[in-house]
């Protein structure tokens, strides 16, 4: 089977100069890691288990049965506020497109996981800090609507600094828009799973990230509503080290489970197996033309 288009695109992309070296230093334990080994280990430090932030396409590659079909990539950002701070917003977008090789902070599409057809969204912190502007809101909504139409389960990996300031209140309203889409999708009896990766904060944590049937936190991810610095300023004291970590949230009862990245695919497959009737999915498979032969 030839390499699918999205994977070919990812592989053809130039590696940014600063990332091109053969060795990577782990920011947690300072171990020098051979880049290829790190990639083979799902970007988890072989020595200390630190989870490096991942490119959306690398993550998709790690998850799916190599059959990802991207949708929503035709939805691209505008500049509704005519925003300028240090630089005009369109220039920031251009720089991030260049840097991340992504068109926005989320990639959405269909794929199969161990034969289970799913709608899949993966956010990427490399693009505007994974912030939710109108395109993220629109792509998430679009994904949920398409999944609802086909009655497919939906899995979204979150990584977000919150609402995108450069789009002002239009960004905030994406919390309302995505929430409504989630509500419709789930009311119809479809499975919605979110996987919270580092970092998941602000408006995304206060909307679709925590609205799912099953909330999985990736090990060691930083997850919370308010920023750590804001809280420290408010309470005027240092916060405990584990504050707002996935493990802290598990202890407080906010997430269903904390899973090491290397086990996330298997965990998702088990969740799908428990919650989804494969027979019900058969017509859904045919509804995605790309999977008709699967």
């Amino acid at each position: 089977m030839p390499a699918p288009e999205w994977l070919r695109i990812r592989r053809d992309k130039d590696v940014p100069a600063e990332d091109a070296s053969l060795w990577v230093k782990c920011p947690k334990c300072s171990e020098m890691l051979y880049r290829k080994d790190l990639g083979d280990n799902a970007y988890v430090c072989m020595r200390c288990g630190h989870h490096f932030r991942m490119h959306a396409y690398d993550r998709i590659n790690l998850l799916v049965d190599s059959d990802f079909v991207e949708i929503g990539d035709h939805i691209t950002p505008g500049d509704p506020l005519g925003w300028v701070d240090r630089r005009p917003y369109p220039q920031k977008l251009e720089a991030d497109r260049e840097k991340s090789k992504l068109s926005e902070a989320i990639v959405t599409g269909f794929a199969t996981l161990e034969g289970f057809p799913v709608a899949l969204g993966v956010m990427d912190f490399n693009f505007r800090g994974g912030t939710m502007g109108t395109v993220v809101g629109e792509r998430v909504t679009n994904l949920l609507e398409e999944a609802l139409r086909r009655r497919l389960p939906c899995i979204i990996f979150t990584a977000s600094g919150g609402a995108r300031m450069e789009e002002g209140m239009l960004a905030l309203m994406q919390m309302a828009k995505t929430t409504q889409a989630v509500e419709r999708f789930m009311s119809d009896g479809n499975l919605f799973v979110t996987v919270l990766t580092d970092p998941t904060t602000g408006g995304v944590s206060a909307s679709f990230a925590f609205e799912s049937d099953i909330v999985i936190a990736e090990a060691r991810a930083s997850i919370g509503f308010a920023g750590r610095r804001v809280i420290e300023q408010t309470i005027r004291q240092k916060l405990p080290d584990n504050f707002q970590t996935a493990e802290f949230l598990l202890e407080k009862g906010h997430v269903d489970m904390v899973v090491d990245r290397r086990q996330i695919r298997d965990t998702l497959v088990r969740v799908l197996d428990y919650a989804v009737d494969r027979k019900r999915l058969a017509p859904a498979l045919k509804a995605v033309p790309e999977f008709a032969g699967a």
């Binding site: 509500e183 206060a206 920023g227």
Partner: protein, 308 residues
């Protein structure tokens, strides 16, 4: 320092002089002249406010608060608590009558003075406040009572204990409930609409905003600190965030603006409500309303799509 309050101080000398003269002879030409001068000054000072001046108007110490709106209802019976942890005084709710109609009211409660503010956490709602709100939204939906909310908060509480009790999840749960309820929801932005903490009770079929209220994705100070590392540039940030009622009406986020008297709502007051639709039509209209909001390009259609 509130720029509106500072400006009012310059007027107050003139006003007290008028007051003194009035006591002697209310009908004198001097009084009339001074009165029209004050009126003119007030129009000059407050007739055309900048976004930053509106932020200050929204935070004016005498601005009508939720407590004033609640007091103006025909009847109000408060219902307390989230049934799990605590009753959050920063968000008050209960049964109410508004112009004879039975409704459920939810209101964010800034305090009038320091004592009230400390008790109410300056109107910053904690997870248990949002969970109480969610409980009352469900109650309203079950008994087919319209939901009327008053939004006035600088933002959701950003404290340690709020994080421990899942602030994000609490807000998300309110949003899901507001997406689901089968009764009309009317939200009024009466003062400060601070980001997700405001939206949690602001997702509505009809959003009313007072002329000098502001509603923003981030506080101007927070925005300036992030962008320029300097909170003092808040007035500039206020300009860029497009947080005024007129801006938001243009984006389709606000449906109706309630005019305020020259000089701000603390010089008078305002309130309104609407008729219920059939539940399905209502929910569909609500879905489509938020479905449209945003501004993006659709490359497939090679056309720009923009909000409302």
């Amino acid at each position: 320092m509130n720029v509106i309050v500072e400006r009012e101080k310059s007027l107050s000398a003139l006003e007290s002089r008028i007051e003194a003269l009035r006591e002697r002879d209310a009908g004198s030409d001097e009084v009339k002249q001074l009165e029209s001068k004050v009126e003119q000054l007030r129009r000059d000072m407050f007739g055309n406010l900048t976004p930053w001046e509106r932020v200050n108007m929204a935070r004016h110490p005498k601005r009508p608060l939720s407590s004033d709106y609640l007091a103006a209802l025909d009847a109000f019976d408060e219902l307390h608590g989230d049934r799990h942890f605590r009753d959050d005084p920063a968000l008050v709710g209960g049964f109410a009558k508004l112009r004879g109609r039975r409704v459920v009211v939810l209101a964010q409660m800034k305090g009038r003075d320091t004592k009230e503010n400390i008790r109410n956490n300056f109107g910053m709602v904690s997870p248990e406040g949002y969970r109480k709100a969610k409980r009352l939204m469900e109650l309203a939906s079950r008994f087919r009572l319209p939901i009327v909310t008053f939004v006035d908060t600088s933002g959701a509480d950003p404290g340690l204990s709020s994080e421990e009790r899942a602030q994000g999840e609490a807000i998300a749960a309110c949003l899901v409930t507001l997406a689901k309820v089968e009764v009309p929801v009317v939200a009024s932005i009466i003062g400060e609409g601070g980001s997700g903490g405001a939206l949690a009770i602001g997702l509505a079929d009809h959003v009313i905003m007072a002329e000098n209220a502001v509603y923003s994705v981030a506080s101007p100070e927070g925005c300036a600190a992030i962008l320029w590392g300097d909170a003092a540039r808040a007035p500039e940030a206020a300009e860029r965030l497009k947080l005024t009622a007129a801006d938001l009406e243009g984006f389709g986020i606000v449906d109706e603006i309630v005019a305020e008297p020259i000089g701000g709502a603390h010089r008078d007051g305002a309130r309104r409500l609407l008729e219920p639709l059939a539940p399905d039509a209502l929910r569909e209209a609500r879905y489509q309303k938020y479905r449209r909001i945003g501004a993006w390009h659709d490359d497939a259609a090679t056309r720009a799509v923009s909000g409302a």
